[in-house]
């Protein structure tokens, strides 16, 4: 039986867990105090040794990213925290910010100290107003307690934190689009190079990291790099939040060492919905190729998941049982990508527009025999051709869906998905499908 390693989520069940006193009582800001006794370069080294990899999806080693900053030239350098969590299925940063915002703020101070930043920004997804408020209050509380502002804890180190709410665009989770949006420009990805480490926010050296990445830093300072590497695998060290959703008995965030399997996580979560069995799942959100029951024992670390043909992504495990139509699920995701495509490049803008129309045909049982090959060819023309990774992500669910469930797509040439997989059987609660509602109106 696998075990959980609650670090970030250790105190989520505490009364008023989001308040500063509760956070401090649980050991909060000990990491910062320790960091401030060290030279910034040593903090950087500690994070490098921990092997902490970016928790936003790409898994780039955080210490290495910080190390890319050019030598200080006297001008400002920035830390920007990406809290624009918008991927379907991904729900780790928002609960973390809701339950334990100080964890992030402590991480921000330590990271800023390590990289020589005096003004950090948190770019929060526009739709989650309650989290923006909680974070703003947390910044205020931390400032009042001397963890932010000038001469933090008497160290002489100054830091301001600005919480910025986006306007609700998936593309702004892409780091360069996020920077443009933060600058007040249209949120579209920038040409790289120059990379943000060289010319990021306001064309200054900038580190952009995910919420969970930065929030993991205080623990590394508290427990040391070796404590962190004692969890996880050799190349995917540490703990991570696994977000189980969908047809699972106890959905939620499970903080466990990287390398845990879905089988183990499902045991912890009470298994798939009672009376049903696993059909397919996403290992890291909707942008990662689907897995099926045959992948239950794939260790959920960066390397093993990649070897098995998908990506660890944001560890957003969406569980679908046998009542779910793959065609319908893939069509919903594609609707999302079509809606969220920023429009900058042709493959993503036009490709998602076309893919959706083909998928909607198939879902309605009105596809043609050429449509599946068309879908695969379109995906081939989008994957690796788009400006940023969003175009690639839009194709993953389609190509993997066809790979594992081709017969369901073929059925789309003659039978609607709602007939093959009545939607009311997939719902957890009693539910009258829209088609039935409309049928009643028409009668």
């Amino acid at each position: 039986m696998a075990h959980l390693t609650p670090v970030l989520s250790a105190h989520w069940d505490a009364e008023r867990s989001w308040t500063l006193p509760v956070y401090e009582a649980g050991g909060g800001y000990r990491g910062l105090r320790k960091a401030l006794t060290m030279a910034p370069a040593d903090v950087l080294t500690a994070v490098k040794e921990s092997g902490l990899r970016g928790r936003g999806g790409a898994g780039f080693p955080a210490g290495m990213k910080w190390g890319f900053l050019p030598a200080p030239d006297g001008g400002p350098r920035y830390l920007v925290v990406n809290a624009d969590e918008s991927e379907p299925g991904t729900c780790k940063d928002m609960p973390l910010l809701l339950a334990s915002p100080q964890e992030l703020i402590e991480g921000i101070v330590i990271t800023s100290y390590a990289i020589g930043c005096h003004h950090a920004f948190v770019y929060v997804r526009g739709e989650v107003l309650h989290i923006t408020r909680r974070l703003q209050q947390a910044v205020e509380a931390a400032r009042a307690a001397g963890y932010l502002g000038s001469d933090i804890l008497g160290s002489g180190f100054d830091l301001e934190v600005t919480v910025h709410a986006g306007a609700g665009a998936y593309i702004c989770g892409e780091e360069t689009a996020l920077l443009d949006s933060l600058e007040g420009l249209r949120g579209q990805p920038r040409l790289k190079p120059p990379f943000p480490a060289v010319a990021g926010l306001y064309a200054r050296p900038t580190v952009v990291n995910n919420v969970e990445t930065i929030a993991s830093v205080p623990g590394i300072l508290r427990g040391g790099a070796s404590w962190f590497t004692s969890m996880g695998t050799e190349r995917s060290s540490g703990h991570g939040l696994f977000s189980l959703s969908g047809h699972v008995t106890r959905p939620g965030q499970y903080e466990a060492p990287l390398g845990i399997t879905l089988r183990e996580l499902l045991e912890l979560a009470g298994g798939v919905r009672e009376g049903h069995e696993l059909k397919f799942w996403t290992p890291g959100g909707s942008s990662t190729p689907l897995f099926t029951a045959e992948h239950l024992d794939v260790p959920l670390d960066y390397e093993s998941v990649a070897t098995a043909g998908s990506m660890l992504g944001t560890r957003a495990l969406q569980i679908f049982d046998e009542t779910t139509s793959v065609v319908r699920a893939v069509t919903r995701w594609t609707e999302f990508y079509k809606h969220e495509s920023c429009g900058k490049c042709t493959p993503c803008r036009e490709g998602t527009y076309w893919l959706l129309q083909v998928l909607q045909r198939l879902e309605a049982g009105q596809g043609t025999s050429a449509d599946i090959e068309l879908l695969l060819d379109l995906c081939d023309n989008i994957l690796g051709r788009a400006f940023c990774a969003l175009g690639d992500g839009a194709t993953s669910c389609i190509t993997s869906g066809i790979q594992y469930f081709r017969d369901e797509f073929e059925a789309g040439t003659h039978t609607p998905a709602d007939v093959l997989f009545p939607p009311e059987r997939s719902s957890v609660f009693a539910y009258t499908p829209r088609s039935a509602q409309l049928a009643g109106v028409q009668r």
């Binding site: 249209r186 429009g343 490049c345 493959p347 036009e350 527009y353 023309n381 051709r385």
Partner: protein
């Protein structure tokens, strides 16, 4: 065509052609291969550019050599192999956009010609671009010259797999009265938005919405989603009262790779394959922009920018592009006319020439009785070609035996004439466009680069943006043009220019002045003086002193296309061709020898003002007038009196004018599109252009040749070749030059209460004679406004936006007021905008004292005078 090809045994040609541009040797190079062909390019070269040089065409839409790489359309994908850290050449996992990829040593690029992956990627992107593109090529302006159409044929599928619903938009959006946008045709390459942001700096359109609904739109208060500079203020409104678009918006039509942006003037007018294209040169300003004139069956349908890197790149102003209808206006004069019984009547050429010659001959006779005028003066106007100017210059001296000739149909001064003789004439290509690119600092004196010829502005802006060039301006206010050059205003009251220039001394206590002066001491710094400097006594003298003091080079940038060529051709009272001073006996002898005459008149010539004064008081016998608009002259009333009084007027004109209405003989001449010729840019660069349209109309020099023959004093300039041969034979002047002018500053006294000093200059688009017949263009002009400082506006009691009346004894101009950051007691008016014909209405120009008052019944001034 060579204008003046040096021949063995001759002096320097009169206006020598510019030496060919030589690219500087790159500091570092990169050697790599494309499709197996090894090539060496300067470090930093993009793969797509290197491929062009090898003759390998990679399809593209968003890529444009003048714009920063975007990588948006993804059409130019290629397969790339590059050496890794271990030195082994490995394939990059994804195809790369060659428009954003810099070549690196050892890189191996495989285009669609050698890589199946690149070919598939390009076909895929092309198919995606076409799914939402309408199949309206048969009615689209771009059809037949469309990069999308062409590349769909070369790099696309023969048939479509798209059977679904296309995205549509309502047909076209009027971006301005001239520019229309069909959004469904747009491939969202962002060339137009990037042009307006990066080049013109005048963003008037931007991307809006996202995903498949993403579209180009103009600034609209209902759409919040835009970046960059938004047009603000009343001055930034066009004639229709909407946010001002741009003087350069026509370029977006030309760089649009599809038919999404079209011009109202050309929309649905012609098919590209029916057009005949002839190279041309813009007649609108002294920048000499290269044009492509597209015509069909004798009618010009449109003009496009031609690519001349040494001058205009691939960009022109909207005036260059759209203002050509004047050449085919309804008031064109097609036959010679002679006045009989008070009416102009069509006559044969021979009769017209005989009549003209008889009249001129009579005027040249010594006066029989006191009070009768005698002598002939020549006013060629500032729009002449080099050849025509030369013919006027020679006609005056050889056939009319006078130095009374002045082409400056604008406010001018004796100081300016001396300045031109001393510093400008005979010094061609001393300062060039290329120098604007590299100058660390540029000082503008009496010159609005954007309004008085846009290409200098565009080149300055590129230098400002890319190389951090610093721009300073001696002017009463910072225009939007200067703001977009990040320029520093050296605020100067009209007439005070000389004092300001003399105050620019390195190390003076005033930090701002010292800063400007220091900047001008850097190697390569430039001072550009405009023709308006002539209106400020001492300004040109002070500019010469400043150049001497700082080492900055000084160039004179006139507005009109013919001004510089006319200076070289010697159409000034004190100046003979090639910068030969009239008062230099050696120069006169030199010229007399080439011209085969016994000698040139020794009596000094009179300038425009003196000529008109003489004509008005009856002491002049006749006038030969070229393309001169009376309303452009410093005192139009005096000019009208002069033309009425002078016994005999010969007019060489393209169209009916106030001069032809008063002329005794009217000789029709060809507009630029109907003749070959050469304009000379402000740099002194000859810009030869061929004849575009077949025409029976004659160029001025041929008419003057015939007139001289009728006068029995042949000038021998019947053909362009004859003119060129003579210009070559004549060559430049290596003798003594005229002395530098040394006119003391004469700053105007502060204006009394209720009055102000007038500041005025031409806007690019206004009521100019060469802009008639183009209503779509006129709609994109800036809305005329008067400008005052806040304090002066309060004194006068006119609120921002209220109507201000500016008047003199002669008349009054009423315009909406725009309160501006400018000196008190100074009022600015557009010189020739709709409802603001300053010279004709006020008989005043820059530096004059004018009266200000609120338009009655319009302002909201209460008893206390506050509002």
């Amino acid at each position: 065509m060579t204008v003046t090809s040096p021949r063995p045994g001759t002096a320097t040609p009169l206006v020598p052609p510019a030496p060919p541009m030589v690219a500087a040797a790159p500091a570092a190079t990169v050697t790599f291969s494309i499709d197996g062909i090894e090539t060496t390019v300067p470090k930093g070269t993009l793969v797509i550019r290197a491929a062009e040089q090898l003759g390998i065409a990679i399809p593209r839409f968003c890529d444009h050599p003048l714009l920063a790489p975007a990588g948006a359309c993804r059409q130019c994908l290629v397969e790339v192999w590059a050496p890794g850290r271990d030195g082994a050449v490995a394939k990059m996992p994804k195809p790369q956009a060659s428009c954003t990829l810099e070549a690196t040593p050892g890189m191996q690029v495989r285009t669609q010609h050698t890589s199946a992956e690149a070919d598939k990627a390009q076909h895929g992107v092309m198919e995606l671009l076409l799914i939402n593109h309408p199949l309206d090529c048969p009615v689209c302006d771009k059809g037949g010259e469309c990069p999308l159409q062409n590349q769909a044929m070369s790099n696309g599928r023969a048939s479509t797999r798209f059977v679904d619903v296309k995205r549509t938009f309502p047909k076209p959006i009027e971006i301005s009265t001239q520019i229309l946008l069909d959004r469904e045709r747009c491939v969202l390459c962002q060339r137009c938005t990037r042009f307006s942001e990066e080049i013109a700096g005048d963003a008037f359109i931007d991307l809006q919405e996202r995903g498949a609904r993403q579209q180009i739109g103009r600034f609209d208060t209902a759409v919040l989603d835009f970046a960059g500079e938004s047009p603000v203020g009343a001055a930034a409104q066009d004639a229709s009262g909407r946010p001002f678009a741009s003087y350069f918006s026509g370029n977006t039509v030309q760089i649009c790779p599809v038919g999404a942006l079209t011009s109202a003037a050309y929309r649905f007018r012609a098919r590209p394959f029916d057009l005949v294209s002839t190279p041309g040169v813009s007649e609108h300003d002294s920048n000499g922009s290269a044009l492509r004139v597209d015509h069909r069956r004798g009618v010009v349908m449109r003009r496009l920018a031609a690519d001349d890197p040494a001058v205009n790149g691939e960009l022109i102003t909207d005036k260059d592009r759209f203002a050509f209808a004047w050449q085919a206006a309804a008031d064109r004069i097609t036959t010679p006319l002679v006045r009989r019984d008070g009416e102009l009547q069509s006559v044969s050429w021979s009769e017209a020439l005989e009549t003209a010659a008889a009249g001129l001959r009579a005027a040249m006779q010594p006066a029989d009785e006191p009070g009768t005028g005698h002598g002939v003066a020549v006013l060629p106007g500032g729009r002449v070609t080099l050849e025509d100017a030369y013919a006027y210059a020679k006609l005056a001296r050889v056939a009319l035996r006078t130095h009374d000739i002045d082409h400056r149909a604008r406010p001018s001064s004796a100081e300016e004439a001396q300045f031109l003789a001393h510093h400008v004439a005979g010094r061609t290509l001393d300062v060039t466009f290329a120098d604007l690119d590299t100058a660390p600092a540029v000082l503008l004196v009496g010159y609005e680069a954007e309004e008085e010829g846009g290409i200098v502005f565009l080149r300055l802006r590129q230098s400002v943006v890319k190389r951090g060039q610093r721009v300073f301006a001696v002017a009463p206010l910072a225009t939007r043009g200067l703001q977009r050059l990040s320029g520093m205003l050296l605020e100067t009251v009209p007439g005070d220019e000389a004092r300001m220039l003399d105050a620019l001394v390195p190390g003076v206590p005033d930090a701002e002045l010292a800063d400007a002066a220091d900047a001008l001491t850097q190697a390569g710094a430039l001072i550009l003086v405009g023709e308006r400097a002539a209106t400020s006594p001492g300004a040109l003298s002070a500019a010469l002193r400043l150049a001497e003091r700082t080492g900055a080079r000084l160039a004179w940038v006139p507005r009109r296309a013919g001004e510089r060529g006319a200076v070289e051709a010697g159409t000034l009272p004190g100046l003979l061709p090639g910068g030969r001073p009239v008062d230099d006996p050696a120069a006169r002898a030199d010229l007399a020898a080439v011209w085969g005459v016994d000698g040139l008149p020794t009596e000094p010539g009179r300038d425009l003002r003196e000529i008109l004064a003489a004509a008005a008081d009856g002491s002049l016998g006749a006038l030969v007038v070229g393309g001169v608009q009376v309303a452009d002259l410093p005192d139009p009333e005096l000019a009208r009196r002069a033309l009425d009084r002078v016994p005999f007027v010969v007019s060489l004109e393209v169209r009916e004018s106030e001069v032809t209405a008063r002329a005794d003989v009217v000789l029709p001449v060809a507009p630029p599109v109907e003749k070959p010729g050469t304009f000379v840019t402000w740099e002194g660069r000859p810009r030869p252009f061929p004849q575009a349209l077949t025409s029976r109309q004659l160029p001025d020099h041929r008419v003057l040749h015939l007139l001289a023959e009728a006068l029995d004093a042949p000038i021998g300039l019947p053909t362009l070749a004859a003119v060129h041969a003579e210009l070559d034979r004549l060559g430049g002047w290596d003798g003594a030059r005229a002395e530098a002018p040394d006119v003391p500053a004469a700053p105007a006294a502060p204006a009394p209460d209720g009055h102000a000093l007038l500041a005025t200059w031409h806007q690019l688009l206004d009521e100019g004679r060469l802009q008639t017949g183009e209503p779509f263009l006129a709609g994109t002009a800036k809305r005329p406004v008067a400008r005052l400082s806040a304090a002066t506006a309060a004194d006068v009691g006119v609120p921002d936006g209220g109507l201000l009346t500016v008047s003199t004894e002669a008349g009054a101009i009423t315009l909406p007021l725009l309160v501006s950051d400018m000196p008190d007691q100074v009022v600015w008016l557009p010189t020739n905008a709709v409802g603001s014909a300053v010279r004709d209405t006020l008989h005043a120009d820059t530096g004059a004292v004018v009266r200000l008052h609120a338009e009655d019944g319009v302002t909201a001034v209460d008893e206390e005078g506050t509002w």
